[in-house]
């Protein structure tokens, strides 16, 4: 059976595919060697989704902030030391990551443990900050801002708790000596996630303060 092209040869110009058929010569690795690992791509996608969640919530916050009926609440004083603790935990986790790059597993474990504990301390501090608010008679439905306060800090806390769980998994791997200077992606991913959660908290704190 003649093909379409054989029938039409000479009458219709054949369609031109993209230059090089859209890729290299085919023997190169042009298509497959994506420069970033699966885990890295995955973690940044996850982080993007989390940022969009908080972007949506903060747009709602900003809109309602502009309403004449807005009533501000006094921020619990504990948020300041909590913020310092979270910043320190980020530093500790960064130092842990740098230790393993220097191939110093002992120091890595120390800093990792400290980072995780500081993270837990932050979470406990946040619950204590809630308690401060409750003692001051400010509950979720008290004002719009108090509602946002509990929801934003709560959701951030949940995400940070996920980070603590991930850190403990990495700690388990470190205990079994599965991390080395050349292979410590789980720690890298955790550190990236942790720093983003840290930055996210600074943003949320600022958002809540500027009311």
């Amino acid at each position: 059976m003649p093909t379409l092209v054989e029938e039409r040869k000479g009458t219709v110009l054949p369609p031109t595919p993209p230059v090089n058929y859209g890729g290299g010569d085919g023997s190169s690795d042009s298509g497959s060697s994506f420069p970033i690992s699966k885990g890295q791509v995955g973690i940044w996608i996850l982080v993007t989704a989390i940022i969009m969640l908080f972007a949506g919530l903060s747009s709602a916050y900003i809109v309602l902030r502009g309403m004449p009926t807005w009533q501000g609440i006094e921020m619990p004083s504990l948020l300041w030391p909590n913020t310092a603790i979270l910043l320190m935990s980020s530093v500790a986790i960064e130092l842990s990551r740098r230790s393993i790059r220097r191939n110093d597993p002992q120091s890595m474990k120390r800093w990792l443990g400290l980072g995780g504990l500081l993270g837990l301390a932050f979470l406990i501090g946040q619950v204590a900050a809630w308690k401060q608010l409750v003692n001051a008679g400010v509950y979720v439905p008290s004002t719009i801002q108090s509602g946002f306060f509990y929801i934003l800090t709560g959701l951030h806390g949940l995400h940070l708790f996920g980070g603590v769980v991930a850190l403990s998994v990495v700690m388990g791997m470190a205990m079994k000596n599965r991390l080395s200077a050349f292979s410590h992606e789980p720690l890298k991913l955790c550190a990236a996630y942790w720093h983003v959660m840290d930055g996210l908290w600074l943003y949320l704190f600022l958002l809540l303060l500027l009311s």
């Binding site: 595919p17 497959s32 791509v41 969009m52 949506g56 439905p141």
Partner: protein
């Protein structure tokens, strides 16, 4: 033997439960998504049949229906509350649990690793988890139909403050609580899927498969996943706020001074329009989350059965990217009558009409692909042509609705119902059918019956136009979108025969789907066997492996790609197709 070869064989020894139920194989997960979505489609479709019944004969006593639904048809006539919950559940089920699920969850899972030459997804466990959370969300939304106080009544958009106040209507109690939970679970499941799709397509393409050699299906799934990633978290955030308004006593969406059923509501400080903004910031990209994979699949299938390369591959990719980008700045066109500043309205009009440009690029490219082709009229090919037809018919009315001046007249009429059904329900449905007829041999190793497939196509094609085309006229005539009884308005009574005609057509359209369902399930066990790997003479990688495809996808080494996916009717070639895995040297020796 290579490591990958060993890995392919290492997949085999699994029991039935691990292999077909709690599987992490992307093909099984894809099929699980498809079958679950089909079950949801049957539910959603039956609900629409009840709606059509009511719209055609709103005041006729129906004792038989009263026997079937004693509460809903108390006294022999459908209760208005029941009708409005049908509207809500039909919309929710079809948008989320059928279209989003079957196109990205079903085809996405099944096709991504096969078409990019990978053995599985990047994170198979997360993939399985995504399906199981989706299944739970299906169960939750389905259970909302059986709540004693009734199913949710706020429409699929769940506008506040109706949705924020459980006392607003019977179905707004437990019904909406279940709705919010189901949507939140669905968002979480969709995010897990999207994370997997993007990572897999970016990092796991086989050697030689550069981005500009990807089949359009893959491009569309990648872009869709990015849309989902950016849109679903916003819906999730809005759902969290809504839930707090409902059960936590907050007032994010409830302004002061609302009086509900004669009782003043103890809320203040919120803004109901905020929900609309958040919802539509998600909702409009959601339209493209449904339409883009349909476009991608229809493009690939159209090209295969036209035996011609897709017209202007690059423009197809760029236009999908621009549609996706524009979809985030058009949400205000759903809110032209919300009292927005007319200047803002014209900005949203402008951005909305801009989407017509890439959509027209795609349409002309499809026409360019079909132009002068010797089309093989298979069921799959017919459905992909049908997709183009439905997309154009539905898209054109979008130009009216995107223009604020026209939309203010047409807002919430049947014109809108006609528009969105054609463009984001029927068109994606056609693409999904095209995909099912096309990839069925790859899924089950057998063909669906072609004759029944063509019958199904023609009944669906004519049926869909008979149902949705007259709705434009009803809408221009003033019939309201969620009206329960059109005959209660004198000015609508002359249009009532059109409603009756639409209902009969809808029954035919619904019955035609029985043909499909029978064909689908009978063919799994008794269809004609697919003896060869590539029965449609297509070019993409999934056609280089056996039908059905085993665990690990590629029995030998992973394929290497040498060319784009549209080498159909290449001059000088013996066959009128050259698979992507055929080295370039073979082609140039002539």
């Amino acid at each position: 033997m290579s490591e990958s070869h060993a890995a392919a064989h290492g997949h085999h020894e699994l029991g039935f439960i691990r292999k077909y139920i709690f599987s992490t194989d992307h093909k099984i997960i894809g099929l699980q998504y498809m079958i679950t979505a089909m079950a949801m489609a049957v539910v959603g479709g039956l609900l629409s049949m009840l709606m059509r019944y009511q719209l055609a004969w709103p005041t006729t006593l129906s004792p038989n229906m009263a026997k079937l639904f004693p509460t809903a048809f108390a006294g022999g006539i459908m209760a208005p509350e029941f009708y409005i919950s049908l509207v809500t559940m039909h919309g929710t089920i079809m948008v989320f649990f059928l279209f989003t699920a079957v196109l990205t969850g079903g085809f996405g899972n099944f096709l991504i690793p096969l078409q990019i030459g990978a053995r599985d997804m990047a994170f198979p466990f997360l993939n399985a988890l995504s399906y199981w959370i989706f299944l739970v969300s299906c169960v939750v939304i389905f259970s909302a139909l059986f709540v004693t106080t009734g199913a949710p009544m706020g429409g699929w958009t769940s506008y506040a403050p109706l949705s924020a106040l459980p006392a607003a209507a019977p179905g707004q109690g437990t019904g909406v609580t279940l709705w919010v939970i189901a949507i939140a679970l669905f968002s979480a499941s969709g995010l897990m899927g999207g994370l997997n799709y993007i990572t897999t397509i970016l990092t796991m393409r086989t050697r030689g498969l550069s981005m500009m050699r990807l089949p359009l299906t893959q491009w569309s799934l990648l872009i869709t996943s990015v849309l989902g990633l950016l849109a679903f978290p916003v819906l999730l955030g809005a759902a969290i706020l809504l839930m707090f308004d409902r059960v936590g006593g907050t007032s994010f969406f409830v302004p002061a001074g609302v009086i509900m059923n004669g009782i003043a509501v103890d809320h203040s400080g919120g803004h109901p329009l905020l929900w609309q903004h958040l919802f539509w910031f998600f909702g409009h990209p959601e339209v493209y989350i449904v339409v883009l994979p349909a476009m991608g699949m229809a493009s690939d299938i159209l090209s295969t059965f036209c035996r011609k390369p897709i017209f202007s591959y690059r423009m197809m990719v760029y236009s999908m990217v621009s549609i996706a980008a524009l979809s985030f700045i058009v949400w205000g066109h759903h809110m032209f009558v919300s009292g927005m500043n007319p200047f803002l309205g014209s900005v949203f009009t402008l951005t909305t009409l801009l989407i017509a440009v890439p959509s027209a690029v795609k349409t002309f490219n499809w026409l360019g692909t079909v132009w002068g082709a010797r089309i093989r009229f298979t069921a799959a090919g017919l459905f992909s042509i049908g997709f183009v037809s439905m997309f154009v018919s539905g898209g054109l009315s979008g130009i009216f609705l995107g223009t604020s001046a026209a939309d203010i007249q047409l807002q919430d009429t049947y014109f809108v119902v006609a528009h969105f059904h054609l463009v984001m329900a029927i068109a994606p449905l056609f693409a999904a059918f095209a995909g099912l007829y096309f990839w069925f041999p790859k899924m089950f190793g057998r063909f669906m019956n072609e004759g029944l497939g063509k019958l199904h196509f023609w009944l669906t094609f004519i049926g869909a136009y008979c149902v949705f085309f007259p709705m434009h006229i009803l809408g221009i005539g003033g019939q309201m979108r969620r009206i329960y009884d059109p005959t209660q308005y004198t000015f609508l009574i002359p249009q009532q025969p059109v409603n009756v005609f639409i209902t009969y057509s809808a029954f035919v359209l619904g019955a035609a789907q029985i043909i499909f369902i029978l064909n689908f399930f009978v063919s799994i066990f008794a269809g004609k066997r697919a003896m060869e790997n590539n029965p449609w003479q297509a070019t993409t990688l999934e056609w280089t492996v056996p039908c059905p495809t085993g665990h690990g996808n590629f029995p030998e080494e992973l394929p290497v790609v040498y060319r784009w996916p549209f080498d159909y009717s290449v001059p000088g070639e013996k066959e009128d197709f050259v698979p992507q895995s055929v080295p370039a040297t073979v082609m140039t020796k002539h």
